[in-house]
Amino acid sequence: MDDGALVPLLAPMLAWALAYCRSWPPRATSWLIAGICALLALASTVTLAVTAVSSLLSGSVLVGSGLAVLFLAAVCSVGVAGWHRRQAWRIPVDGLALLPDDEPVAYALPGGVVVSRGMVRALAADQRRALLAHERAHVSLRHHRFVLFVDLASAAQPLLWPLRDAVRYTVERWADEVAAADTGDRVLTARAVATAALAARHSRLSVASLGISAGPVPQRVAALLTPVRPRYRILALLTVVLVGVVFVEATEAVLDLWQLF
């Protein structure tokens, strides 16, 4: 197996840097994470297939069949992950559905928003407006697709696993920013997020969870309470470098195979 093939297979480790870019502009970062995940997963899967074939052709049956098994595992795992999501998303919710449930929950599905009675009661009227604007943003901006792409990509390439939480965080931040723009009030939106989280916590005191560092919710609230400072330059640079390296190496792997024939 040619060393160049290792690059598309290991490049996802470079992408781990993205998991730490929580203060970046959420819209651009969501696109970047989803795009890079799709590209890297595709590159590593194609590389697996190509090197499997070239190993088999050049006579190393053991390596070749090992790689072929990895390739099939990647394809199957994507299929299973996709089917799983489809099951959960098939239930139609249109617009806003209210649950007669006292546990404060709110979430977005591809077609609409689900909010429980416990959640609307935990918030003041203006905070409810921020909540609804946030959830509507998930639906209208199709955030479930970003999450889906990253999940499918990490099913194909397990090294992308850390980016699943990263993209979930960035789409939440993105929706927070839309809600802040919609209501015209960042502090109001921050308070809505914080109040909802605290209400949800106190409805389930038995589930005492321990954490070492600050979880996603305080980070989101803190971000809303701080003015935005775009850092597009590092973002653009990282994208160009990552995409460039992967593209060159994947092309090289394909050319190597080509020369075998």
């Binding site: 919710v93 806003l96 007669p100 599905l109 009661r121 009227a125 939440e172 979880g215």
Partner: protein
């Protein structure tokens, strides 16, 4: 601030669900803030009634509205049960807030207190 009609409908529905009893249009208007016209509130409430999302009864000169568990809500409830059985429901849903740790709670309370100023 300008709000679209679908958004207003959601806000009115959420207000009905947050209330303890039936609400008159005037009460809904007071709850949602002064920039809404009374007639707009009445229109939205009667639209919700037509859709079967709200029940109404006469209360003096106006109707009082209360929320009704409608079809979308029942669907969502069924889905909730389905998802409770799902091991990775945290991954399927885009939830408004995720679970908090002890430290998160302290931090959040601090942030809230700071934003008061």
């Amino acid at each position: 601030m300008r709000r679209r009609s679908g958004e207003l409908e959601s806000e009115v529905l959420a207000a009905l669900w947050a209330a303890d009893g039936a609400m008159t249009p005037a009460q809904v208007q007071a709850e949602l803030g002064g920039d809404l016209a009374y007639t707009t509130v009445v229109t939205i409430l009667s639209r919700l009634h037509e859709k079967g999302a709200a029940a109404r009864e006469r209360q003096g000169r106006a109707y009082a509205y209360s929320p009704v568990q409608d079809e979308p809500g029942r669907t969502a409830g069924r889905m909730r049960k389905l998802l409770d059985a799902e091991p990775d429901r945290r991954l399927v849903l885009t939830r408004f807030v995720t679970d908090l740790s002890q430290e998160d709670e302290v931090l959040l309370r601090q942030l809230l207190a700071d934003s008061d100023g």
